[in-house]
């Protein structure tokens, strides 16, 4: 059940003046839902491309199902990776793309593909190049789900999908995964939306893995303490501080530690307020801490904010 199916060792992917992957070591087990989180350009798509042999590492080793996927039909036939900017043959309509996928995935479920197409209100007889961004994403999502490949990658599958369609995707993913367990790697920067679906979280930032932990371990592993700055600082002296914000004499400080019940009681006595830190907040804090404390000036950074979206 928990066999390792993906193993990356010292992966480096070097572009002209950029380390897209900077010594990545990673090990993924079978039948789990992984979140591959990080900002745009952090290396998510590069990592997935290298693992699936769609791109080549400068150095290092990537093993999938125990072997290099490159030109290896035995391995490739168990993988599905529709990228965010996936291209399709010029004359293809969604139904053609689905029938193509059916030729290559032995577990392909055409009934599921049809149901999903209806759910997403996808015009299956319109040329793919005439589809909207959201409909294009839906085509990729449907291929990914209906392929039932043992190792399925979803590369920011929500682009252009509205909130209803995104929820539909998450719901169908959980449903189908429950019935047909497999390894899902969900690359996303909309962390809040997917946080509860994930069993394990891998955060990548500027080509490096900065977090690799079970989602349940992360939940509650950090806490934000707010109140009078003086009291907050005294209370948190000597602790691992991730982020600090002040407003006049008030401070709100996030620490990368959990508090015991005695400490919680103590904080309450001091009149300090404790609030949980969401996975998204934690990832943002950690990413910014890695960027050399840029978080202090960036305020309440959010992965899905406009500036990040605008860079696409």
């Amino acid at each position: 059940m928990n066999d390792t199916i993906v193993e990356a060792r010292n992966l480096i992917k070097h572009y002209k003046d950029l380390n897209a992957l900077d010594n990545v070591n990673l090990s993924l087990s079978a039948n789990r839902i992984y979140g591959l989180l990080g900002r745009n350009g952090a290396g998510k798509t590069t990592l997935m491309s290298v693992l699936t042999a769609q791109a080549f590492a400068t150095s290092g080793e990537a093993l999938v199902f125990g072997a290099n996927a490159y030109e290896n039909d035995a391995v490739l036939s168990r993988i599905c990776f529709i990228r965010e900017s996936q291209k399709y043959p010029d004359d293809f309509q969604p139904r053609h793309a689905f029938r193509s996928a059916a030729l290559f995935y032995k577990n392909w479920d055409q009934g599921l593909a049809d149901r999903l197409a209806a759910d997403f209100q996808l015009p299956v007889k319109r040329r793919i190049k005439k589809l909207s961004r959201g409909q294009l994403s839906a085509v990729g999502v449907i291929i990914g789900l209906a392929s039932r490949a043992e190792l399925t990658f979803f590369d920011e599958p929500y682009l252009g999908l509205d909130a209803v369609a995104r929820q539909l995707f998450y719901d169908r993913l959980v449903e189908d995964y429950a019935e047909h367990p497999r390894t899902i790697i969900l690359s996303s920067h909309l962390i809040d939306e997917v946080a509860n679906l994930l069993e394990h979280v891998v955060v990548i930032d500027r080509g490096r893995i900065i977090m690799d932990a079970d989602a349940e371990e992360i939940r509650g592993s950090a806490v934000t303490v707010s109140g009078s700055a003086e009291k907050v600082d005294a209370f948190l002296a000597g602790r691992k501080i991730l982020h600090r914000e002040t407003l006049g004499s008030l401070a709100s400080v996030t620490v990368d530690e959990s508090l015991g019940s005695r400490e919680r009681a103590e904080a309450q006595e001091l009149g300090l307020e404790l609030s949980p830190v969401s996975l998204q907040q934690l990832v943002v804090r950690k990413t910014m801490a890695g960027a050399g404390g840029a978080g202090h000036t960036a305020g309440t950074g959010d992965f899905s904010d406009d500036t990040l979206e605008a860079r696409r």
Binding site: D171, V174, N196, E199, A215, E217, R219, G220
Partner: protein, 133 residues
């Protein structure tokens, strides 16, 4: 319903416990499957299973092979006993401690508790209020 304060499996276990304590999940009745929990709360099925397994391990739920999970006989009294103990530790002890600090006698404390019980609304109306919020 699910929040970020603690692991989701603990929250799932607590939700089921609450159902048993308030009687909405009767003893010997079947509880939803882990996949149903996962779909309903939009969480990872493995996490839901972990929450259910916590209750299986403590004897609150038991497995009928090929059928599903059921509430064990005596589960409610077991939970009530545990929660009463927790209630004592979490609320009564600090209450008594604080009362002693302020020089409130046991008798005065009893009167206060009786007076406060008039203030607490019925569970039903409380639910409606939180739903309205």
């Amino acid at each position: 319903m699910i929040d970020d304060s603690k692991p989701i499996f603990m929250q799932i276990a607590e939700l089921i416990e609450n159902g048993i304590v308030d009687g909405s999940m009767a003893e010997e009745s079947q509880v939803p499957s882990t996949n149903e929990f996962a779909a309903f709360h939009r969480i990872n099925p493995a996490t839901a299973a972990k929450g259910v397994n916590v209750l299986v391990d403590s004897g609150i739920l038991y497995k009928r092979r090929g059928i599903g999970m059921f509430v064990a006989t005596g589960a409610r009294s077991q939970l009530v006993a545990r929660r009463t103990e927790e209630f004592f530790e979490q609320y009564v002890k600090p209450l008594a401690l604080e009362a002693r600090k302020l020089g409130i006698s046991a008798e005065q404390l009893n009167t206060m508790i009786e007076r406060s019980s008039g203030l607490v609304p019925e569970p039903g109306t409380d639910k409606e209020r939180s739903a309205a919020l």
